[in-house]
Each structure stands twice: as C-alpha cells, then as structure tokens.
C-alpha cells in the first residue's frame, strides 16, 4: 500500500525516526520550558549544555574509562552543577532586568563554551559508540530498528513524564509553580526560593546534558551540535507555549514526526518546516498550542 507514492512500511519507519528526533526535542524543550517558567530566562546556553553533556560522555569514556550507563548519571550531574554555578554567579544578577539581558548573557555563555570545545577538539568532532548492550538492530517488520534508537525513545519518555509528574503533581512542584506566580508570598511562607531557583536552573541544565548523553552515540559529538539544534528547540517551545511543561513534551514529539515526514515528501523543506509551523501558530495562537495568555 502506498501513501502519496511512499510505501506504508517506509512511512512507518520514517515516522518512528521522527519520534526519535522528537524525543530529543521534547527533552530539550522541557528543560527550556522549566527554566523559562520559573526564572523567566530565555536560556540560549541550552544547546551548549547539551553539547557539554555529550562531550563529557566522550571524555568520561576516553580519559576516565567511565562507561555509557555511568555517564548517563555523571554527565547530567556535572553539567547540572555547572549550571548552578552559572545561576549563582551570573544569571541571578539579571533577575530584575529585562529578559533580553538574560538572553544575551546565556547566548554569550553558549559562544564561550562552544569555542572552548572547538578549540580543543575541532569541529568534525569525536565518535562515540553505543553501549555493547544496545548495539545492533531488530527487525520489527516495517524496518530494521537500531536498538539504541528505541532506547532513546524509552529513556526520554521516562524522564519527561517523571519531570512532568514532579512539577505538576508533587509538593515540590507546587512550590515551584507558586514561586513563579508570586515569589514574595512564597518566601513569606518561609520557603527558600533562591535555593529553589538555583536548583531549577541546575535541573534544566542537567536535562540538556541528559539529552546530550543520549545523543552521543547517535550523532557525532561535535562542538557545533548544540548550536544546530537549539534554534529548532526554541521553535518547539514557542509552538508548545513558553513555560508549558506538557506542551513542550507533546510538541517536541509531534514536530519531530512532522519533520521526519517532510524529509520523505519534500526534503528541501525539512529545515524550515518547524519554523513555518511556528509562524502559523504564532499568528493564530500567540501564546502557543498549550500556553495560557498571561
């Protein structure tokens, strides 16, 4: 059976590939949405933190012999810690200024991280193999599915959903959300809001790094990998609605699939399709598909 001239088996395969890319978009835009929701910072360093996650994974294996599974834990922790330092020493001081300052600062941070990495490792990047356990591919009928890609979808969904649960369904999440709505009141109840803000930025950074670790075996670990993806992820966040947790997860997956299908039907448009959708959404729903107007 052909669907618009493409066999349906090939189409299913392509949709699955889209889902894999969508998983990266989801996890990255989730981190962005959390940081924007609570700190009101447009975190342009997100791509660089993602790159750092992947680079640390490579370094951990090649310098310290730390394997992939351990890196999955270590790299996000390290990058999360670095994120907290950034928040304490720099981002914090811009809290009372226009959000554009935060954007400029994080953009600058991204440039510094990226240049440091490309000076040390060159742009062609470094190769990282999938862990032994997940090598090879399984025939699932409509395609040969690389085991590692299936793992990416599972792992990122698990992380996205638990994050959503924590923010929307637990007491800690309630503090977070309350802190965004009315910081003065929350502090009056004796909650250490500055600490929560720092932890949140750290968590957002850790999410980016987690995506980086997941990506390391799939794409070449290169200093430019973050710069390539961050712009797309921003578009995802805008489509989903700035600050909306569930919105960024669903939109990330959805746009990944749309992009995958575009690669089949009209490849030249695959780079712009997400931005075209963003423009349309902005025209009809300026606060995004899942956002609420403030």
């Amino acid at each position: 059976m052909d669907i618009f001239g493409v066999p349906h088996q090939a189409l299913l395969g392509q949709m699955f590939i889209g889902l894999v890319n969508g998983s990266f978009y989801a996890i990255l835009s989730l981190g962005l949405a959390i940081i924007f929701g609570l700190l009101n910072v447009v975190n342009f360093a997100h791509g660089a933190l993602y790159m750092l996650g992947a680079l640390l994974t490579w370094m951990a294996l090649n310098y310290l012999g730390i394997n992939y599974w351990l890196a999955l834990l270590v790299a996000p922790l390290a990058v999360g810690g670095l994120g907290m330092v950034f928040e304490r020493t720099m981002i914090r001081h811009l809290r009372r200024l226009d959000p554009i300052y935060g954007l400029l600062l994080t953009f600058g941070m991204a440039q510094v991280l990226q240049s440091l990495a490309s000076n040390s490792y060159g742009v062609t990047g470094l190769s990282y193999s999938p862990p032994e356990l997940l090598r090879g591919a399984t025939d699932v009928g409509f395609m040969r599915l690389p085991n590692y890609r299936a793992w990416v979808v599972v792992a990122s969904m698990a992380v996205c959903l638990s994050t959503w649960y924590v923010v929307e369904r637990t007491r800690l999440g309630a503090y977070l959300r309350a802190g965004t709505e009315n910081p003065g009141m929350v502090q009056a109840f004796g909650i250490n809001l500055p600490l929560i803000v720092t932890l949140t930025y750290g968590f957002g950074a850790a999410l980016a790094a987690f995506a980086g670790v997941l990506a390391a075996p799939v794409v070449q670990v290169s200093p430019l990998m973050g710069a390539d993806i961050v712009v797309v992820v921003f578009a995802v966040v805008v489509v989903g609605g700035m600050g909306s947790i569930l919105g960024s997860i669903v939109t990330g997956l959805l746009l990944g699939v749309v992009e995958g299908l575009t690669r089949v039907y009209y490849p030249p448009a695959s780079n712009v399709v997400i931005f075209a959708i963003m423009a349309v959404v902005l025209m009809f729903r300026p606060s995004g598909l899942f956002g609420t107007a403030k």
Partner: protein, 411 residues
Amino acid sequence: MERPAHHWIAALLVSIGLSTLAIPAAAQTAPKISDGRVRFGVLTDMNGPTSDLAGPGSVLAAQMAVEDFGGKVLGLPVDVVSADHQMKPDLAANTARQWFDTQQVDAILDLASSPIALAVMEIARQKNRIAFVNGAGTSRITNDACNANTVHTSWDAYSQSYSLVDAVAKQGGDSWFFITLDNAGGHGVERDGMAAVKAAGAKVVGSVRFPLNSPDFSSYVLQAQSSRAKVVALIASGTDSVNAFKAINEFGLNKTQKVVAMVTFIPEVHALGLQAAQGLILNEAFYWDADAGTRQFSERFFARFKKMPDAVHAGIYSSITHYLRAVQAGGTDEAAAVMKKMKETPVDDFYAHGGRIREDGRMVFDMRLVQVKKPAESKKPWDYYQVLATIPAEQAFQPLAKSTCPLIRKP
C-alpha cells in the same frame, strides 16, 4: 567651486598615459612587484563545517610554504594574511575585494566550499589578481564559470565521480542511489556522478538531497535502504559526512549495500575512526603516507599542527611554491604574466608529480584511489589508507575536449 568633470577625466587619461609609458622603462631595470611585496590571502572556513578540512591548517600550510621559500622573492618580502569567510559567499566576496583593493593581496587561496570559490574567483577576474581554489569541488570552476585568473588544484566533481563510479560499477554495482548535499557543490558532483553511472551502463534508481549541517541522516539512510540500490553514493563533507556514516552504520546499510563516499576525505575518516569507516572506498588528491616526499612534508606539518595534512593543506603549499617560482622566473607579480608562467611550467613537488595547469585553469595530476583500512591493519596513528590504484591525470580529470570553458580555443 567644482571643476568640470572633463578636467578630471583629462587628468586621469594623462596619468594613465604616463604610467604606461613609465612601465617598460622600469621593467628593464627592477623587478615589477606591486606594492613592493607579495602577499597571499588564505580565505577559509575557520569554525564551520569544513574547518577541519581547510581552516587553520590551510593558514599553517601557507605560512610553511612562505617560510620554506625563504620569506622573500626577488629580494622583496612575502607574507600571508587570513580571514574566516564563515561559509557566506557575500562575506567572502567582500573580504576578497577589500584584500585586493586596500590590503595589497596578490593571490587568494583555499576558498573551501563551492559557492565561496565561485564568488571569489569572479572578484579575482575583475581585479586582475589570482585565485587558487584548493578547497572546493564544483566542476563549474573550470567549465562555464572558468576565467583566466583562476587555478583549481584540488579534486573536482569530475575527479570524484568518474573514476570512482567506474571502479565500483566494474565490481557489479549496477544500480545507484544518491544522498546529496543540497548546494552548488553537491549538485555538481551528483550531476557528474549520475552521468558517470549511465556511462558505465548502470542505472540511478533514486536520490535524496539533504540541507547543509543535518544532524540526523536516518531518514535519508532509510530511503536509500528501501530503494534496494546496490550502491549508495554519499555526497557529503565535514560533519555531514560523519553524521551520515553514523546513521549508515547504525541501520546496517553498509552490510547490505555498498557505500561509496564521493567527497569524503581524511579528516572525516579520522573523526569517524576506523571501526566505522573501514572498507570505504574514496578518491584522494593527497595522502600523507604515500611516499618519502609526502611524509617529509606531513611530518613537519604534524609537528606544528598535531594533525596530518590533507589535500587542501598540501595543495595550498604547492600553489604558493609554484606561484613564487613563477614570480621569480618572470620578474613580476602581474597576474597575466604569472599565470602564463605557471601554466608553462610543470608542477613538480610532493603534492603533484608532473602536474600541469591547463588552459581552463584546471591543474591535472595523478589521483589516488584508496580504501580505508580495517582497525587491525592500521599500524600507527593516521595510518588509514590502502592505496588501491593511481588514477593517471588524463583519466582523473575531465578532458579538455569536454570542457565548456569559454577560454578554450576550439578548432
């Protein structure tokens, strides 16, 4: 009060007349070097996707060539300037114009990526200076876009397609699928590649074009897989080709179909590692470990750069040396005279043995068909290739008879 325009024009004409009168007299006594120096401009991609292929290594190669020549030609200083074109043809054209107009640059080198090369060689023509294309591969450079001020020293679309396709088609590759970079360079290689496929009696069953800097190739690899073509030709360079290979490995494309990399070079093989790149067949203008001459240069380069040179780097060294020799022999750096000298003299160095620059600006020399070694076969770092064959200059490059370059006097 302003002077009428014809006063200025008259003054200009008089000064032009005087200067043309003065030149022959001066030429007999002193060498004619503009601005009292020879300056090379390395215009390259310092941070982008081709910066490992060209980039800082190109600047070093240029400096080494000038140092090895003694830093002087005809008693006057020689130096190198460099700039990053950021993969933007408009920026490249502006830099070239500025270099020629105000920075006393005599020749521009590198020009990695085809749109850049096409833009800058046109400026060189307008300003009557010289452009060496060492880092771009579209065959337009020596065909419809050719000019008398340009030398093309690296691979081109023809060299990367005909000989490769021919070799693979002979091993039974009778159906082809192309995964092509969507820009001028990619289209050029694809066009020549498809023509070569047909010339070899094989057929093209499909193709897909991807945008520059694609992080994920799985979609294209899947399309190639479902085409069931026997050979998949990949036209991608830099990070793109590395990411493409990751996907090719992951989906097991190289287990069921033969993968030919048409514009992949040693920096990408280095980045991929032999585990992922083994068995790949490619065509190189230069391999550091080919003979004593290449090793001698490459080891000196490695000592300063910590990476082995590739065809772009070696090509730049060769171009500068050839240019300076032509200036020395002709006693001038006037573009037409230097070009004439460079075309008369064979290029004989570690980069090209018995190479020559043709009328259309194409430098022709022997190329090498190589196969990436298995990890177990590699004895030392950077020991990556098995040289399968030498492709003689006449076969490696498009014959003059087929060229559409307007400079060629057709009988």
